[in-house]
Amino acid sequence: MRDVTYLRPGNVRDAVQLYRTTPGCRPLAGGTDLMVMLHAGTLRPAPRAVLDLWSLPELKGVRRANDVLEIGAAEPYTGIIGSRDAQESVPALVAAARTIGAAQIQNRGTLGGNLANASPAGDTLPVLLAYDAVVVTDRRSIPIDEFFVGYRKTALADDELITAVRLPLGRDVVFRKVGTRAAQAISKVVLAVSREPARIAIGSVAEIPLRARRAEVALERNDIAGAVAAVADDIRPIDDVRSTAAYRRQVTQNVLRELLDAFARG
């Protein structure tokens, strides 16, 4: 890592400029995904510079503005968990943040990192989908629906930085995570559901975090049994290990049924 240059811009404008002009440059926020790979030398292409976003004031904080809650891309999970505004307006996101690692990880991990990393197992991602979050970058706003374009691929341009995430206020979303990270290869499923509008978002069941469109259509008609049946066709669990895919379908259906029943009970 001694040959990786460390860049510390003072504001987002300078950060974008450096990102654009430095060959092999990689953004760094909390480092909980990146530092391990950087140290192990497993990143391809090997980065020649890291661009430190951690201390940029513009990327910090949780703010309520008009009808949205805006969370800075480099605000750590601990800040989200501790924010009264987040607790009131987006409790499902707070619940998801609480399940991410232990204190050491929550003190460093960020939404910007979770989004850019675009792991199908990223725990905040289904929640952001269920809220119809907007990913704000240095140049535009990207509806979360259009953000994940392939396995660990995002809609971000090569020199584009996430600056914030915007969430609507007053939407009722529930979140459920089944299975631990260590066991994620066999059993992890993450669901986030909104009843109104109908949103069913699921992680770890396809190459991207996805919305279960067919199940959502059924849910719109208040057809809970139909939604639970349809979700099996919406998801694409890895089918190189047959039994695992079948098991995940079953778990996904069970958890969805449980969440929708909970909504029905109020």
């Binding site: 890592m1 909980t32 430190d52 204190a103 050491q104 990880i105």
Partner: protein, 149 residues
């Protein structure tokens, strides 16, 4: 770059992308901070940055510019007198091989600052990012609980 380490100003000429863990151990001689997994899973490398516990294997040293870093060496008093928590670890036999101990102490230290009388669940949650292969955790939890006031 400059930061504060255990209360003293440090000024260093280092590549900012190096791990804080390595700079602490190799350049600053603070070998109390241990490396276990190097992947953020074990907490052996825990240090405090501005009072919050983090894994120093996941931090680029450039990121602590201007910040306040505490390692296990910073828990004892100015003449090396052990803190109450460190004493409690000894009395309860909460350290065996000792690899996890510095990280456990720092994570527990933060808990006791926030929660003067934690219960066993609080302790378990606060230490969830710190793995121990030796003690089975019970003695560690007892040691921390004994420091509740």
């Amino acid at each position: 770059m400059r930061f504060t380490l255990n209360g003293a100003a440090v000024s260093l000429d280092v590549v900012g992308s190096r791990r804080l863990l390595d700079v602490l151990r190799e350049d600053l001689g603070k070998t109390g901070t241990k490396e276990g997994c190097g992947e953020g899973e074990c907490g052996a490398c825990s240090v405090l940055i501005d009072g919050e516990v983090v894994d120093s294997c996941l931090v680029a040293v450039g990121q602590v510019e201007g910040r306040n870093v505490i390692t296990v060496e910073g828990l004892a008093g100015p003449r090396g007198e052990l803190s109450l928590l460190q004493q409690a670890f000894i009395e309860h036999g909460a350290a065996q091989c000792g690899i996890c101990t510095p990280g456990m102490l720092l994570a527990a230290h933060v808990l006791l600052k926030k929660e003067q009388r934690p219960d066993a669940d609080d302790v378990r949650e606060a230490l969830a990012g710190n793995l121990c292969r030796c003690t089975g955790y019970t003695k560690i939890i007892e040691a921390v609980l004994s420091c509740g006031t």
